[in-house]
């Protein structure tokens, strides 16, 4: 129950941060829009089923789309990473991790290396798909890949920063 409430709070919190702060940052706005809202998906407990992360991804993405007036854009990208999340977690985690189903992916539970890889792969996939959908009609590939790469990098930094700031180690005892 506690876990459920916590996740609902995160859903709303990160959505609001995305809408109110990150979408409004002007100077780097054209090239890099920092994205943080999907950290909600990344932080769901290990035991969350694939169907649940997929549906939650869609809900989260669609909620953001309501505010940015792009119905389907973020929903598609967030659904994709929700679907791919268990695959990547299975790649990274040893089998014995299954006993810690209620724990969440973090530096403490996964270690620096695997966690960074986990974040970066999902972030990159998210941005790649998002920018692809957004820029479908434009053909400048170097610009495209540059935008994806730097936006991913920015999101990575933000996520690691949030990770260090909140220091979820202590919450887990």
């Amino acid at each position: 129950m506690n876990n459920l409430l916590k996740n609902i709070a995160r859903f709303i919190l990160f959505l609001l941060i995305q809408i109110i702060i990150l979408n409004e940052i002007p100077p780097i706005h054209q090239f890099i829009t920092p994205y943080l809202y999907f950290i909600f998906i990344l932080w769901l407990p290990f035991g969350t089923s694939r169907i649940a992360t997929t549906l939650l991804g869609f809900a989260l993405g669609y909620a953001l789309d309501m505010f940015t007036n792009t119905p389907g854009l973020h929903a598609a990208a967030a659904t994709l990473i929700g679907y791919l999340r268990p695959t990547i977690l299975n790649l990274l985690l040893a089998q014995e991790a299954s006993e810690e189903l209620t724990k969440e992916p973090s530096i403490a539970t996964m270690g620096w290396g695997p966690f960074t890889f986990y974040i970066f792969s999902l972030t990159f996939i998210h941005h790649f798909y998002l920018v692809l959908l957004e820029w479908l009609q434009f053909g400048n590939f170097s610009y495209f890949i540059g935008k994806v790469f730097f936006t991913s990098l920015m999101s990575m930094l933000l996520i690691l920063l949030v990770e260090l700031l909140l220091n979820r180690r202590k919450l887990k005892r």
Binding site: L16, I19, I20, E24, S49, R50, I51, T54, L55, F58, G61, Y62, M66, F67, N69, T70, P71, G72, L73, A75, A76, T79, L80, Y83, L133
Partner: protein
């Protein structure tokens, strides 16, 4: 058929993923004006609410810039006032019936500048106001200073490159020519150093019949202030039997406690006026 259902059952996660993707893409690709209105109806119920809250906050943080814009606009409008201009003298004819000048053209007499107040005192006997506008931005000594609601504040006494010092009305040496609006009888506004809200209007002829509540305006005799600016209202009348003049207590219209912006008034003909006034004194 059974096999197909079985296959879908086994891979229901993947299929729901596919369906959600398709839904997203269809929404994205068919997002048109008509959809915008359709979505607008129920999306805006939630999103609009949040956005309006957000807007209120954003507006709050933008107030500074908005304020600066409004000040600039006010100065521009104030500069267009008809009372800033003097008409050409069209009574002089140059021999024929043709006037020398176009009578619609006016000569500018008063010009306004905005300035931000950076220092202000009202508790001392000699109060000064510091503003962030100096000689390089057009401020000269003896320019009049008025508040945004059009009441007078003081006179510029010191100027350096970017800052100026204003002698506020709340200064024992301050003296501004004023008149009663009722019968246009002139006197001078001074301050006795007691309350920052009460000024005194001295040297009003006893032929004037002021009443409590009468408006006091700047007189046309002042070289720095434009005529008919608000100064305050009469609160009490002091009759001194030993003199021919009345002293009136005036409640100041200017709120000296919260000045943020002021306007400087430049009289383009001030030098000419003071010059001729001083020449007259030399003849005595």
């Amino acid at each position: 058929m059974k096999n197909i259902i079985g296959f879908i059952r086994q891979n229901y996660t993947f299929f729901s993923f596919l369906i959600l993707q398709i839904v997203s893409l269809v929404m994205l690709s068919s997002y048109s004006k008509s959809h915008q209105t359709y979505f607008g109806n129920w999306n805006n119920a939630v999103a609009g609410k949040v956005n309006s809250y957000y807007n209120e906050w954003a507006y709050f943080f933008d107030l500074k810039a908005t304020n600066a814009k409004l000040v600039a606009e006010n100065v521009a409008l104030r500069n267009e006032l008809a009372q800033n201009f003097v008409p050409y003298d069209t009574s002089v004819k140059s021999g024929t019936l043709i006037l020398r000048k176009d009578s619609l053209e006016k000569i500018r007499k008063f010009f306004y500048y905005p300035a931000k107040v950076v220092g202000n005192s009202f508790t001392l006997q000699k109060n000064y106001i510091t503003i962030e506008r100096g000689a390089l931005e057009g401020v000269k000594k003896d320019m009049a200073v008025i508040s945004p609601d059009g009441s007078i504040v003081g006179v510029v006494v010191e100027v350096n490159d970017h800052y100026s010092k204003i002698m506020s009305l709340l200064h024992r040496n301050s003296k501004v020519s004023a008149m009663l609006k009722r019968d246009r009888i002139a006197g001078s506004i001074e301050w006795d150093g007691n309350s920052p809200e009460i000024l005194s209007l001295k040297n009003i002829s006893k032929s004037a019949l002021p009443k409590i509540g009468d408006t006091v305006l700047t007189s046309p005799y002042s070289s720095s202030f434009p005529a008919q600016l608000m100064i305050g209202r009469v609160t009490s009348i002091i009759k001194d039997p030993s003199s021919n003049f009345l002293t009136l207590n005036i409640k100041s219209a200017t709120n000296f406690y919260n000045l943020e912006y002021v306007y400087l008034v430049q009289n383009k003909r001030m030098e000419a006026q003071t010059d001729v006034e001083q020449k007259g004194e030399g003849n005595e």
